[in-house]
Assembly symmetry: C2
Homo-oligomer: 222 residues x 2
């Protein structure tokens, strides 16, 4: 099928830069997360809550991916955190070369953790390795408990899964046991963190897990 071949070419180019990104990050001891979610699932709010939880422990920088606009980068910069905005034009995901450009703008020597906020999309970003240590995905309660059935790829690619907006569970018909079983079927290793990012609820266990990951990566390198 033509489509598959075409995708492959783009993937190859992206992978080449992703490898270079990985080497850059290793050389400077930087941990990088590729954060994936639907539009409006709360990626920026989760990043902001994570910054608040971890900014005393780590130097953090953010790479913002969007089709258009720089509203998210502005929100992050208001917190005094370095942020690079990538506008993809039309593309529904970030690619290795885009991240490569962003890494060259950031002060990697003084960075411990980079969070990439990928373009809002449960499909396209899943297949693209950007040089990150882990992919993490967010689903929000309003999106519904059936999403693992419809978008299995992203739930399988994630090293950890965040369920956001749990403060709105009372107003949505979200079947938590069914959701948890679907996650377990697709990705039994991934921890599930239930949070309300804008209220900074439940961010502790997510931040603790992330801290462990960062320290394990540093220990492995040393």
């Amino acid at each position: 099928m033509a489509h598959i071949d075409l995708d492959k070419k783009i993937l190859d180019k992206s992978e080449r830069f992703a490898q270079e990104n990985r080497e850059l990050l290793d050389a400077h001891g930087v941990f990088m997360i590729d954060l994936l979610a639907s539009p409006g699932a709360g990626k920026t709010s989760t990043i902001k809550a994570t910054i608040n939880a971890l900014r005393e422990s780590f130097n953090i920088a953010i790479i913002e991916g969007d089709i258009a606009s720089n509203v998210d980068a502005v929100r992050i910069k208001e917190m005094g955190i370095p942020a690079v905005q990538i506008n993809t034009g039309g593309s529904c995901h970030l690619e290795g070369d885009m991240i490569n450009k962003a890494l060259k703008v950031l002060d990697l020597e003084n960075t411990d953790l980079i969070i990439i906020e990928n373009v809002g999309n449960l499909v396209c970003p899943t297949d693209f390795y950007l040089g990150e240590d882990v992919k993490v995905m967010i689903l929000s309660v309003p999106e519904g408990d059936d999403k693992p059935l419809k978008y299995p790829g992203i739930f399988q690619a994630a090293k950890a899964i965040i369920l956001n907006k749990v403060d709105t569970l009372p107003v949505f018909d979200f079947d938590m046991p069914a959701f948890e079983e679907r996650i377990l079927n697709l990705n039994p290793q991934a921890p599930l963190f239930k949070i309300a990012a804008t209220k900074e609820n439940g961010v502790d266990s997510w931040s603790a897990w992330l801290t462990e990951q960062i320290e394990a990566a540093k220990a492995k390198q040393a």
Copy 2:
């Protein structure tokens, strides 16, 4: 840039089938909507509410597009409405040839209205003409008022815009005047319908608009 060329090839193939789809629909006097939204914005609920509002007036059929699963087609069939499920495998949008196959399964002679539920995505489906009369998009309140800034293309491609889950406005920080101004800047012609699909609230004006569109198309053909 390679990416653009590759996209173009796929678009060309899709357009060829889209033209054939258009001819098929015209030959049978069928109106077709391409319905676009994020995962979990309420496409299926909106379709169900629309079926309930219009099933006495029109013979309706649904084409369900998903990466995987057939949960949505099952929900529609339970209402006694013909539904065809398309699983795209990995692709983040439907293409003309996929719709062509679906149209050949449906009884077009006895159909007035087809609603295509495209894959949940605010980016990829925007550029693909499938032979439809109109594209309609849904945004849901939990996704946030800033989405027109981030995904302008889909807001511009839509002939009408539905804002769903307005019953949850009290629990989200959604700036309605800002949202309405953003819509107006991008697409001043498109009507905005505020609904709560699962509660079947606000569906009247949307259904009335849709009825007008269908009848205008029929009148133009006659």
